[in-house]
Amino acid sequence: MDIIKLRKDKFADFLASMGDYKLFAPQKVGESLRFAPVTDAGKVELAMANTTVPPKSIFFPQTETLYRYALGNTETHPPAEGEKGVIFGVRPCDARAQVIVDKLFSWDVDDPYYLDRREKTVVVGLACNKPCVNCFCLSVGGDPASTEGLDMLMTELDDAYLLQPLTEKGEKLSQAMAAVTEAAETGDLHKAEELHQQAREMIGRKVETDGIPQKLPGLWEDELWQDTAASCLGCGICTFLCPTCHCFDIQDEVEGYDGRRCRMWDSCMFKEYTLHASGHNPRPTRRERTRNRISHKYSYFVQKFDVIACVGCGRCINFCPVNIDIVEVLRQVKEAR
């Protein structure tokens, strides 16, 4: 597959060339940066560290309708299937996260809503030239230029983006872009590789994760859970902004006679998440909930799907209002006896 490049001054033309693909790219929405449909090329923000909200919101929206119904009628109407899309500017950690979440949504029973969007969406990644201060992807099997889960990898050069198609979907997209792109030169490839290597060296946060999945069950009663939970407010931002967190609630919403059953992001950090109708709660305090969050990512998910459900994006560290730091928690797990 031929590597091509897109000059930055052609960016608006490129967006216009997308034709029948619905295009999503990072944009400022309110206070946060998130993937949203592109209507104005000028609003796309690629000079970002990473989006506040991970691209999981495109495949697994914060709230989505499972089906609609009319009260008093037994018919249910699921929404029409999704359209072809391109999600542009996904950081390699978030693309890996989607591959991890795919395992959950396709094990045993396929989730039709999620998998339909996955199948119809082309994922164009953006290699990290400048990782953030809390990035630790190298510790959990990632890389600032990882291609896992990407159909095309894009690297920002001085005046252009280098585009490397990786899959059939990526190749098809690259052909659709032919009018606005040009062939890459050898020098561009060298430059990109140099930038990738520089990025790897810039990642300052590291934690040794070997042995953590095996060790965690033995730390069930360890003090570290109480210590970590002591400052936790239970706000759930660590899970909402986590690219691998996939838990959801299902609720009915009714207006007049029109009803819909929808699913929405939920969080294991909320006490209602496991609260039984009887009032009994198997995870009654933040200690049990914190223990479950870490154990799920670093042990249960590994036991079930053979991969750590954390990609080291650093969002849970960056956005925690009380500075709970998962890298520090993991270090404590390593040190605990």
């Binding site: 089906y67 249910t76 039709p112 996939h246 009915d252």
Partner: protein, 282 residues
């Protein structure tokens, strides 16, 4: 799972009959229902121990065990305690009303594996609901099992579910039924005391026996202790777990105990599996 192509979309079912098992604030009402769609009805097959999502459009869905055995006929039964939003709305429903059902979900009691063995069920309160399909299944295939002993208790005689079935169970050859209530009542001719104590009085032999217990957590704790005293091995003891659930097929996340999803990997677990999971009895 024999559901629609979209696993979130439920089947419509019609309530054929309802009756109250118990009275009071937390009364239990049983619903006998039939799926409306002929193809869905033909494709549906559940095994004792499996669960289903029962709901009402506009209200919500909750997970219940199917409280009948497939040997009883081409219908489903759910015995629902009035507790929260969905169960209160369900309790308003009567024969002829429509509800939604999806499933069946989860694993089941390995009754095929248990052929030739003596089956001991130990239930408390609404915990008899998942055990009832075992009793009915064994009763229908009595020639394939060495026998069945049912131990069942509740706070008062009024809190015992499936009361009108006990006489028939006791009348079957090979089936024994031991009942208990917490405090003596006028006209009560059976045992008085807690289920774990009655278990010790009945003193079942662990020889070629499988014990299955369901009930309140505190009862299960003492039943497990007593089964160990009676020399039951971990692999001879089974229970069912329950947790809050939303999807029923291992996606929504909340029902996990350790790395197991109760909706998929459970609800039936052997004590040999559960004893190493610290969260199992939380």
């Amino acid at each position: 799972m024999c559901n629609n192509a979209n696993p979130y979309v439920p089947f419509t079912a019609t309530i054929e009959d309802t009756w109250f098992e118990t009275v009071g604030d937390r009364c239990v009402k049983t619903f006998k229902v039939t799926l409306d769609d002929a193809a869905a009805r033909a494709n549906w097959s559940h095994r004792p121990g499996q669960c289903a999502m029962v709901g009402l459009l506009g209200v919500g869905e909750s997970m219940f065990c199917v409280s009948c055995s497939p040997t009883e006929g081409d219908f489903l039964r759910f015995s629902v305690m009035r507790m929260g939003k969905v169960t209160q709305a369900l309790h308003e429903m009567e024969a002829g009303d429509k509800i939604t059902v999806r499933g069946p979900y989860g694993n089941s009691f390995p009754l095929e594996e248990w052929k030739g063995k003596h089956i001991l069920t130990i239930g408390g309160g609404i915990g008899q609901a998942p055990l009832r399909p075992i009793v009915e299944y064994v009763k229908a295939k009595m020639d394939q099992y060495a026998g069945l002993t049912m131990i069942y208790g509740a706070r008062t005689s009024g809190d015992l579910c499936f009361k009108n079935e006990f006489a028939e169970i006791s009348a079957c050859g090979g089936l024994t039924c031991h009942l208990t209530i917490d405090l003596a009542e006028e006209g009560w001719d059976y045992n008085v005391g807690f289920v774990p104590s009655l278990l010790m009085d009945v003193n079942p032999s662990p020889e070629n026996t499988i014990a299955i217990t369901c009930g309140p957590p505190i009862m299960i704790r003492f039943v497990l202790e007593n089964l160990k005293k009676l020399n039951f091995a971990d692999a001879q003891i089974y229970t069912t777990l329950e947790n809050r659930m939303k999807c029923g097929f291992g996606k929504c996340g909340r029902c996990n105990v350790g790395s197991f999803y109760v909706c998929k990997d459970g609800p039936v677990f052997s004590y040999a599996t559960l004893k190493d999971i610290p969260e199992a009895f939380a």
